[in-house]
Symmetry: C2
Subunit: 279 residues, 2 copies
């Protein structure tokens, strides 16, 4: 039987393999400087950090190890958000099967510390992650400051959960963290209930999620209006008005990468695999 | 830095991702019951056995663990031969960088025991592997007998190297084992010397190897004449007379799977990654 960390790594691989996944690297599409093989190396590299979380090591240290390992390829950021979203679930699953619930994962989130937050900030030094300017008053805690922000974190005594809460209104991964992982568990159910190859089900789940809610990574990269248009275009693909393959080509051409939606699918795949989904 | 076992797993993933790789599952092609996602799960599952070999556990136990882990997906045999070919190299690399040479890997092969051979046979119980009937006098050692053949192995005091030697004339993986891994190291050089994405280089190396020598898995699956024709058709693709993509479609349609050549590429990728190839 695969271990919890193996399932998490496999979920990262299955997520990137699923196609068509409009706007993102997948089995059939590369971006110019971020290619499929970078994701393979990134997922393999993340494994040690995933193993640490599964055996109960502190979440921040586990995340830092996962991201440092993930970054050992030339593509840069492959699945930063996906790993961040998986980690509380991995830690919960590592506690025993019955903890892999919204409540179990939320308990992990609630238990995070200031040290976890500090290591989360340090992880931004390993890789370039596209983020917005911080809101008013949060400039000293801009994640792009990396470990330079740690003193400020400590003086404000912010845990990793506190940091996530402050980003929840504009970051879909942070929102899942503080909101009981609702979309992750819904994604897992969608994947479990689907037919055919698992990666294909994950790609269909991706499209459903994208049509359902604005992708915050697209909003960060472009703007809110673009992200809302993406949602409508995904709905049109779901409704059969547009071929998802065409949409995939269009999004790549327009540099639209719904990364947050992909993160949710990766975490949903992990939950489904842990609950016994066969590949 | 990736560990030796991580490089071995990544090599398995890069090998299956490379395209076009005429006749085999790759990033763009599935077989009916053996799909890309089965290879992803297989590579992740093989990891524990790869880790065992890297830290010096007996080769047979490591192989059995790798194959049992690899088999935890619905596709059946994904990379049995590739793992078999990687293992002496992984064990040599685990001994320290300077041992990852033909001589270092051969020393590992020479040190195999009867117990290693017994676990090699047991691995055939975890997965269906296409093999030929054994030669005259070797029927009691037919690998398809699995652990039923172990008593015979023990009474003949055959090590895993001895077993490989007896198959070297008709199995390209066994030949590498007893022949100093010549084609594996040549493949590593070809990949290291190539341009562009690593998976693309691996696919070009695959085509070169296929044009160079008969694939023994094709000879087993079909016959010698088919395997020789495959070699000529690969050469035509190399010479630009046939589009490799067309050849890939033709081979899939004709159920021609040059698996031994893929095994050599996977082992070559491992050597190149261990020697510092960047992805």
């Amino acid at each position: 039987m695969r271990t919890t960390a193996q399932n998490a790594e496999l979920a990262l691989l299955l997520e990137v393999a699923g196609t068509p996944k409009p706007g993102n690297v997948d089995r059939h599409r590369d971006h110019d400087d971020l290619r499929f093989e970078h994701f393979l190396a990134g997922a393999v590299g993340a494994r040690r950090g995933l193993e640490m979380a599964a055996v109960g090591e502190p979440l921040g240290e586990s995340f830092l190890a996962a991201i440092e390992g993930m970054s050992e390829q030339r593509g840069g950021n492959t699945q930063f958000g996906a790993v961040l979203l998986q980690l509380p679930l991995v830690a919960a699953a590592g506690d025993g099967d019955r903890s892999l619930t919204p409540e179990g994962a939320t308990a992990v989130v609630e238990a995070t510390t200031v040290a976890d937050a500090a290591n989360f900030y340090r992880a931004f030094e390993a890789v370039d992650v596209a983020v917005d300017d911080p809101p008013e008053g949060m400039e000293p805690l801009d994640v792009r400051r990396g470990s330079d922000a740690v003193t400020e974190l400590e003086s404000r005594a912010l845990t990793l959960r506190d940091v996530m809460e402050r980003s929840a209104d504009r970051d879909g991964v942070a929102r899942e963290w503080v909101d009981g992982f609702q979309r992750v568990f819904a994604a897992a159910e969608s994947i479990e209930g689907g037919d055919g190859p698992v990666a294909d089900r994950a790609a269909r789940t991706f499209l459903g999620l994208l049509a359902d809610e604005v992708d915050t990574f697209v909003a960060t990269q472009h703007d809110r209006a673009t992200a809302e248009a993406v949602t409508e275009r995904a709905q049109a693909a779901l409704d059969g008005e547009v071929d998802p393959e065409t949409l995939a080509d269009e999004f790549v051409a327009e540099d639209i990468n719904p990364g947050t939606t992909a993160d949710i699918v990766a975490a949903g795949l992990f939950v489904a695999l842990e609950r016994g989904l066969d590949v």
